[in-house]
Amino acid sequence: MLGLAAIGLATASATVWRPADGVVADAADPGVSTLLVTAPGVLELVDPHVTIEASRPDGGKVVLAIGREVDVTGWVGEDAHAVVTGLASWESLATSFVEGETEPVEPTEDADADEADGTAAGDTTASGPSGIVGPDPYASDMWLARAEGEGSAQLEWTTPEAGRYLLLAASVGEDAPPPVVTLSWPREVATPLLVPGVAVGSVLLLVAAVLGLLELRRSRRAAAAPVVTGAVPVHPVEGQPALTRSALRTARSTPSSASATAASAPTSATPAVTPAQAPGWHRVDLVPGASGDDRAPTFRGTPRGAPAGTGSPSAARTSGATSSPTAVPGPTATSSPTTPAPEPAPMSRRELRERAEREAALRAQERTRNRRWHRKGDRGASAPSAASGSLSAASTESAATPVVPGVAHPVQPPFAPAAQGTADAAEPARADAWRKAWGFDTSWTPQGPGAPRGEGQDDATSTDAGDQR
């Protein structure tokens, strides 16, 4: 990008050429004429201001004169002369030759040369024995500007807006070679690409800078929550950063479902599950989107989750709860309530194992589901996947999606109390939730309909379901 910008600027600057332009014209073959005239319009060809130089190799008198077209043409009359018709290139003039009708005559003894052919009453045009005698235009009253010199002459002229003006250059004297005339104009180089080039270049630079900043920010964010590739089967849906291994460990270890997966509820809406519904389970302040580790960089400072797999599952749970796998830049700036909530009763190893298995199963299903449906902006949906595969209730956000409720774990709260109770109680409750999600008769229970389950559980479930749906 920067390269493009540089190219744009370079192109623009490359079009700035030298300011002055000089063109040189050589007159016709020597000995043929001593006069050179410019065609109308040549003097102002590049710029109204022109610097004229005439020179002759043998150092004789050279005369430059500028006059009106009629005057110059009249003065030249029938004499042979070269005519500058325009530019042959930026460095040379185009000339043509006009044959004259002047006939060289033998020089006569008497000074009266008026009878010479082709000459008017002027008395300076006669031919010498070995060539042409160049007439001298310097003294004429008709010129608007004139200059003369030995060997070379210089003249500066600005063409008025109206009128046609010609230059007359003459080598004066016997055997005068044709004058060599140089016309120089100050050249205003049109650089049509300069402004657009610079504009485009600066725009590109700005874009590059902005993109660079964004990249930087993104990389920083990524640094805070480095993408874990490979091992962790995390589906980065909806911009959710992958979980760190510790977070995953934490999530795995904790009864995520029971934990404040709700807490892991994505930033935006509060997860349906609130700690209130999980009485006694954890008094962690389930601030939606409470940060944990793996949170957006804003939550860098948050403790990196509870010591995974430690002997304090509750602590882990808490941290796990607080961990919000949502990648969404935590809108809720509240740092995770690092203070571990009062620990719920430690779970038995069996419970932990079962929970782990359930988690794995759920995770697999979640992954499948997530791959099938991409719910844009539904960070809540991503939460479940991130949340160690737990189906966070937060994902219930989008009640519209039928999957959500399924993904959601409305029954989580019920698990909480169930967790308090026996693991067995929790199991059928979960199964029931699954059944509901898939459209089965929810009333069915292994024990039969109307199993004496905690009212609260059902209510919670129905409530959740209702909320979700």
Partner: protein, 335 residues
């Protein structure tokens, strides 16, 4: 994404370079082609006022240096002006007095510039007033492209005369041909008729066509005096004016008329009876006759220029003579 980035930037660089090269190649400016202003529809003045002033300066220089450099005079004077001035200089040298030289200021009060592009080109200049004398009307002429403007002639304008106005010098006036029919009479006719009037006085056929003017009165007076002086010697004096062919120049005035300037020669014959002696009447004549023995007759040649205003054809106005220059330039004795 990370892998493709360098590749993309490389290809972009190549693309950019290609574009740049193309742009550079294509942005070479085309050669300009001469595009002169179109030839003007209206004829333009052949010289501008600045040029005219410099011409007049050059003429003035030539006149000033004439005493030391008579050859320079020929570069800036021609026609009757050259003749008159040369004669005056000779007389001045002879009489050791510059008083007889006609005062010719070349500072112009106004100039009249023509638009005719062909040669010969003419312009008028009305000079400022020299001390205690009337203004001069200077006639400048460029006979060909390679010649310079020269003072062809001048007239001393009559006192208290009001010249008909000309078009402004920046616009230019047109020249009038000697045989133009756009005036009450052709310029050539005007000069011829006036010469006749001067010669014959009141008996001329054209006496009524020209109102009385100062010069005519002067001539009449001189003739009377001369004849009176020669009468006792049974002498006569005659003055014959003859127009010079091809000397008529005319520039049109703003109202369609023209100011015509023409050259005449005059011959004054003074004869007395045998045995009488007549003497030159003026220092000029004396100078012209230096080295000659005057007996009973002499003839003096004059070079004259006259300026006549001719109204446009169909006008009720009469032509008016506005100025004359009449200088004795030669003298001879018969035998």
């Amino acid at each position: 994404m990370t892998d493709t980035r360098p590749v993309r930037s490389r290809s972009r660089a190549v693309l950019g370079l290609t574009l740049g090269a193309l742009v550079l190649a294509g942005c070479a400016e085309p050669l300009p082609v001469p595009d002169p202003a179109p030839a003007p529809v209206l004829a333009q003045p052949v010289v501008d006022v600045a040029q005219e002033d410099s011409i007049l300066d050059a003429v003035g220089q030539a006149l000033e240096n004439a005493a030391e450099d008579p050859a320079a005079l020929e570069g800036r004077l021609s026609g009757p002006a050259l003749v008159i001035r040369t004669s005056e200089l000779a007389v001045a040298a002879e009489t050791d007095s510059a008083d007889l030289l006609t005062a010719l200021p070349t500072e112009a009060e106004s100039v009249v510039i023509t638009t005719d592009q062909d040669w010969p080109r003419i312009s008028y200049a009305i000079s400022v007033q020299p001390d205690l004398q009337t203004q001069r009307l200077l006639v400048l002429e460029q006979s060909s492209a390679r010649a310079n403007y020269k003072l062809w002639g001048w007239v001393r304008l009559f006192p208290a005369i009001e010249l008909e106005r000309f078009t402004d010098a920046s616009v230019g006036s047109s020249q009038v041909a000697a045989d133009s029919d756009a005036l009450v009479m052709t310029p050539q006719e005007a000069i011829e008729r006036y010469a006749d009037v001067l010669t014959k006085g009141g008996e001329s056929d054209y006496a009524e066509q020209f109102p009385d003017d100062v010069f005519r009165q002067q001539m009449a007076e001189i003739s009377r005096l001369q004849n009176e002086a020669l009468a006792p010697a049974d002498g006569r004096q005659t003055m014959t004016f003859t127009p010079v062919e091809g000397s008529v120049r005319a520039i049109s005035t703003a109202n369609g008329g023209a100011l015509v300037v023409g050259e005449m020669t005059a011959l004054e014959d003074r004869t007395a009876e045998e045995g009488a002696t007549i003497s030159p009447a003026s220092a000029v004549e004396r100078a012209l006759l230096a080295g000659k023995t005057v007996e009973n007759s002499m003839s003096i040649g004059y070079t004259s220029t006259v300026a006549i205003y001719l109204p446009p054809a169909g006008s009720d106005d009469q032509p008016a003579v506005v100025g004359v220059e009449h200088v004795a330039t030669s003298a001879d004795v018969p035998g």
